[in-house]
């Protein structure tokens, strides 16, 4: 299950989509809009998320397939919001479902780490002076992805 959407989502509803009594363990990662994001220490009042939707969907499908096969997941759901989002709003949700918790937890972290550096979304900060500021990719995110090198190849 992969969704790219302007709309907010409900965690209980999304859980029900992947829930089954063959699973015993679910790991969720939820990313939200933080108020103190700006690298230049300016206050922000929200973010704007741009997306190359056809490409992002195909990239998310690849990441999901890898996670399902490497960690023997029963399900993996990925939702990513686009457009204008206020402070505190949900941006991204990953849910992995497995019989065993170690698999669910590790796969969930792999999916969000991959999404951060490999999927066609771009963030802008909406500043209090009504300007938009491009968010730059964090070196940390690239470094973090290296940890998966041995697992996925």
């Amino acid at each position: 299950m992969i969704k790219i959407t302007h709309d907010n989502f409900d965690l209980e509803t999304e859980f029900k989509c992947v829930s089954s009594d063959t699973n015993g363990a679910y790991s969720f990662f939820l990313g939200t809009v933080r108020s103190d994001l700006s690298s230049s220490n300016k206050k922000i009042k929200g973010i704007y998320l741009e997306c190359y939707e056809e490409l992002a969907l195909s990239q998310l499908k690849k990441i999901r397939s890898k996670a399902l096969s490497i960690w023997k997941l029963n399900e993996c759901l990925i939702i990513h919001r686009i457009g204008k989002l206020d402070l505190g709003e949900k941006i991204v949700l990953v849910i992995t479902a497995s019989s065993h918790r170690a698999n669910a937890i590790e796969a969930c972290e792999f999916v969000i780490d991959s999404l951060k550096i490999d999927v066609a979304f771009w963030k802008f900060h909406l500043l209090n002076n009504d300007k938009k500021e491009t968010v730059l990719q964090k070196n940390l995110d690239n470094a973090k992805m290296l940890k998966w090198k041995d697992v996925i190849n």
């Binding site: 990313g31 998320l49 741009e50 997306c51 190359y52 056809e54 490409l55 992002a56 195909s58 990513h80 941006i91 991204v92 969000i112 999404l115 951060k116 550096i117 490999d118 999927v119 066609a120 979304f121 771009w122 963030k123 938009k132 491009t134 968010v135 730059l136 990719q137």
Partner: protein, 84 residues
């Protein structure tokens, strides 16, 4: 033949548009297209000099400047992604 260019993030902001339709008389390579674009608008020089920009042709990353572009192709210019 026609090639669609798609621009994202700071590239879109700098060019003040999200896409272009390029009309050409004949098949060209990605390298030739780049020179063609620079000659029309020097801002492209800055974009193509940025090693962090990636190029996707019909949803697949291009890693070869000699790749041939065909009628109906969609070429996207992508800065490093920042989703999640």
């Amino acid at each position: 033949m026609n090639i669609t260019l798609k621009y994202f993030s700071w590239i879109r902001v700098k060019l003040k548009k999200s896409h272009d339709l390029i009309e050409l008389n004949q098949t060209i390579s990605f390298k030739e297209l780049k020179n063609n674009l620079i000659s029309k608008d020097p801002v492209f020089q800055e974009i193509f000099n940025d090693k962090s920009v990636k190029y996707f042709l019909n949803l697949t990353e291009i890693n070869d400047d000699n790749q041939t572009l065909n009628n109906g192709d969609i070429l996207a210019l992508l800065p490093p992604v920042t989703g999640g």
